[in-house]
Symmetry: C2
Subunit: 230 residues, 2 copies
Amino acid sequence: MELYYHQHILTDPTLPEAEAHHCINVMRHNTGDQVFITDGKGTLYEGSIQIQGKKKVQVADVQVLRKQEQKRKIHVGIVPVKSTERLEFMIEKLTELGVAEISFIASRRCERDRVNTDKLEMRAIAAVKQSHNLYVPKINPMIALNHYLRATTSDQLYVAALTGDNPQALSKQKLSDGSVTILIGPEGDFTDTEMEDIILSGYQPVSLGSHILRTETAAIYSAVVLGIIQ
Amino acid sequence: MELYYHQHILTDPTLPEAEAHHCINVMRHNTGDQVFITDGKGTLYEGSIQIQGKKKVQVADVQVLRKQEQKRKIHVGIVPVKSTERLEFMIEKLTELGVAEISFIASRRCERDRVNTDKLEMRAIAAVKQSHNLYVPKINPMIALNHYLRATTSDQLYVAALTGDNPQALSKQKLSDGSVTILIGPEGDFTDTEMEDIILSGYQPVSLGSHILRTETAAIYSAVVLGIIQ
């Protein structure tokens, strides 16, 4: 099944230009063909296309086909890695795994000044279209750790701990439905002062298993674990 | 901690050329410096280096520092994806996650004739050196599905099922220590006939959650789950 993305399909029948291009020039659709559309917020629609120019497609007779629930909202807060390739790969994997929100954090040992959230969102949209998970994660621009800590609320708050007083394993935690946040530091981890602030903000240190994982692997590992533990 | 790889460190004191290059030209070590070496089979050694030329390093006074156990041997059997980048990324992640063995399988819908196992092994060795997981996974060259099914034995055998009669979730399985294999099909899955052969060979179909995962994501997801379930 081929899937198009249009955030505001219910209020605006015109497909975004990139989607229209795909529909006309790649898939070679004609007026009257039925297509599937998601809003990236959990709803799958069906509609009939009307080609109105080389780059313009409108969708008529839009109907809701299915709503996908997101019982547990997983939020990954992460100090971004330097490699754009690794960052994009991570976004793709977190989207496939159904993560609801991704925040980028500037910490002392962060190796980046900024992240291109528009480009990352495009990668997430591509992953939604490919995986048929109907949620595009909310991708937040980079903010300082202390702002992040003040702004973030969640039913459960965890921080990945490389060291510390024998932290419990993330995989052994008990979760209810609702929201859960996992915070992941940079290569070389958060500084001691940062970790104190994080713990004072209510985050419980947890271990991500016995191996040292790369930052992006830690995020993917956490998304899998938080998706399956009860 | 900087880690060198030498499979036969106990019987041959000479570091492989790439490792010697790293030691002399990148890390700028001198004779007498202490270094850490792993055999990729779970043992960490310490030794003292002797530089014997521009590309030759020998290690003297080799001592065992630590042995890492691998209680559960995870074997991922997978039909390889077309993109070499995705394949290499998968190998890196499976190595970080401590997978013991990776087999590449030619199935009807496979999009590759071969995989370059030497190159993938280099990527796995790099991941071992980076993650300090002391096991380089055994990477098997591509073989036909029926040969693979005949050759593979494991205490538990699972196959990722996209469809079928409501397969149980992999995350709900009970595992003992020992060996476990997860078999993952290509984009478009195994054919019905192939799936029959797989099930007749003793593989239990399991679901990998509610989303459609890319092949390499399915492998990473399975490695995380098989690493944490009891």
